[in-house]
């Protein structure tokens, strides 16, 4: 596969709200040179929902590795963290 330079991904965090969730995720992203373009959050049905649009250089850290590591962080702090390429959302919601 070719190097995907500056590919946008969506990171979602879902779980019970607690102190330091954003901090933990942001620390990870910063230490891996992953740039946050947008961040928003909402509480639905008592659950904390956060979405981040991030941009990273595929060369620095491949997508599957990032997704895997974020998932592990999620397990440590008791929330579900998922990273997905943004295309799936763009395809579904934009014509």
């Amino acid at each position: 596969m070719e190097d995907k330079v500056l590919k946008k991904s969506i990171i979602t965090v879902i779980g019970k709200d607690s102190v330091g969730i954003i901090a933990k995720v942001c620390t990870y992203l910063a230490s891996n040179q992953i740039n946050i373009l947008d961040i928003s959050q909402t509480i639905t049905g008592g659950y904390f929902n956060m979405m981040m649009v991030v941009e990273s250089e595929e060369k620095r850290k491949t997508f599957p590795v990032m997704a895997e590591e974020l998932q592990q962080i999620g397990e440590e702090i008791g929330v579900v963290i998922q990273a997905q390429h943004e295309d799936i959302f763009e395809m579904m919601h934009r014509i």
Partner: protein
């Protein structure tokens, strides 16, 4: 920029409503593997499949991981084997050898099914076609992943009744050969009229002769998503209902389009079509029966079912067609009995009969699908059921199919368990009046008048 609600909506569809891509099917032409020496043909077939589909499964997994969308099945369809083996297979056992090679190749590349152990006989059978049809019981009993199909009719050609008569006997023989597994062999066999060349769904997938050398076809799914969407408009009129289904189908299909495009790019194989079918699974919340209930029926099979299914099918197509650049395959709601928990429940409640299912297949894809019947059913009766279904397809210019499973040693009211995506099924009663004099006439039914459009 995307907003959080859109992201949440997509992920809910995946995690709570069973949205998935049902199959990435790689169609591979085996026409260039034909020859007069069986050993050589077998080698060529194996090598071609293994080299073309080498990365199919891993690519499917990659896409799954990166987009967070399950890609449930990775499969292969090949050129109808009756054509490929025509000049080297002299007896049914020769064809069985090819079936075993297909099975071996499927295991090697890690796909769960390989389709195309097929013959196209809508007007007549060549000796090779007949040989292949006669080899089906042995082929299905001695392989695990090979799927077989025969096209016995078309709007353009009429119906080959000789083939239907023979197939009735072969279905019973397959049931007998696989009776230890409740007749599982027949879950891997479909008889068609107007079979599409680019269907990605099993058991009826084959790679038509009009297709390119290698192509990627994708089948989307998502009955759960449609059901949840129309739950939100309970009690509203048909306009609102139809708009809701259409919009949902659009979203579901877009995901299929994305996956198909990515798979095609990564495998360096051209994209063929997206098949817009609502394909249920035995999982709760992944059922076409549930959608029919949500539309307003107590059970699938109640009066109004055919109309409800007609509108569902039509709206799925209307929404889906705009979402993809190429649509093909079967494209319609599937109503397999054993693979859909609410259909099973409807049969058990006495709401859904074989005759009602037949009526429903007039307005949706694809036919009498995954229906278990008593093992003592006569071959001519099975042929009669097939002929009826084929006539519906021929006259209505649509694809129809029969995947019917006689279960040796079991009778109406008993349950058969196929396991996995194939589910379980209550054995349904069959009209026991005789049609053997009709089936024994021999020959073919001429093409209908509206096929003469030139």
């Amino acid at each position: 920029m995307l907003n959080i609600n859109e992201v949440i909506e997509t992920n809910r569809m995946i995690h709570e409503m069973n949205l998935d891509v049902r199959t990435i099917t790689m169609g591979i032409s085996l026409l260039d593997c034909a020859g007069t020496d069986l050993d050589q043909v077998c080698d060529r077939i194996y090598n071609k499949i293994v080299s073309k589909a080498e990365n199919l499964v891993s690519t499917g997994r990659e896409i799954e991981r990166e987009y967070g969308i399950p890609v449930v099945n990775k499969r292969i369809s090949v050129t109808p084997i009756a054509l490929v083996g025509g000049s080297c297979c002299r007896k049914p056992e020769d064809f069985v050898r090819i079936a075993k090679v297909l099975d071996k190749a499927a295991v090697k590349v890690g796909v769960n099914f390989i389709g195309g152990y097929s013959a196209l006989v809508s007007k007549g059978m060549t000796p090779a076609d007949e040989c292949l049809i006669r080899s089906i019981p042995e082929a299905l009993a001695s392989t695990g992943r090979v799927c077989s199909s025969v096209n016995v009719g078309s709007t353009k050609n009429g119906i080959n009744m000789d083939a239907i008569k023979l197939i009735g006997q072969m279905i019973l023989e397959t049931a007998e050969r696989t009776k230890d597994q409740d007749g599982l062999g027949n879950a891997k066999f479909v008889v068609f009229t107007n079979a599409p060349d680019d269907n990605p769904f099993m058991a009826g997938a084959f790679h038509g002769v009009t297709e390119a050398d290698c192509v990627i076809n994708v089948g989307v799914s998502g009955p759960g998503v449609v059901k949840r969407a129309i739950q939100q408009v309970r009690g509203e009129n048909f306009e609102v209902l139809c708009e809701t289904i259409k919009k949902t189908a659009f979203k579901v299909t877009r995901v299929g389009q994305l996956v198909a495009r990515e798979a095609s790019k990564r495998l360096d194989v051209p994209f063929g079509i997206i098949d817009l079918s609502l394909a249920p699974t035995p999982a709760v919340g992944d059922s076409v029966g549930e959608i029919l209930e949500e539309i307003g029926l107590e059970f699938a099979g109640a009066p109004g079912t055919t109309a409800a299914l007609a509108l569902l099918n039509d709206q799925v197509k209307k929404g889906g067609v705009m979402a993809s650049s190429y649509v093909g395959g079967l494209s319609g709601a599937f109503i397999p009995v054993s693979e859909d928990q609410r259909m099973i429940d409807a049969v058990e409640a006495g709401a859904l009969t074989l005759e009602k299912l037949e009526a429903m297949t007039c307005v949706c894809s694809v036919g009498l699908d995954m229906i278990a019947i008593p093992g003592h059913t006569k071959a001519s009766t099975i042929s009669g059921i097939i002929a009826d279904e084929m006539a519906l397809g021929m006259v209505n210019q649509k694809t129809t199919a029969v995947r019917i499973i006689p279960v040796i040693g079991k009778d109406v009211g008993e349950i058969v368990e196929f396991g996995g995506l194939l589910g379980h099924a209550p054995i349904m009663p069959v009209n026991s009046f005789d049609c053997s004099a009709f089936i024994n006439r021999g020959g073919r039914i001429p093409a209908p008048i509206h096929s003469f459009r030139n």
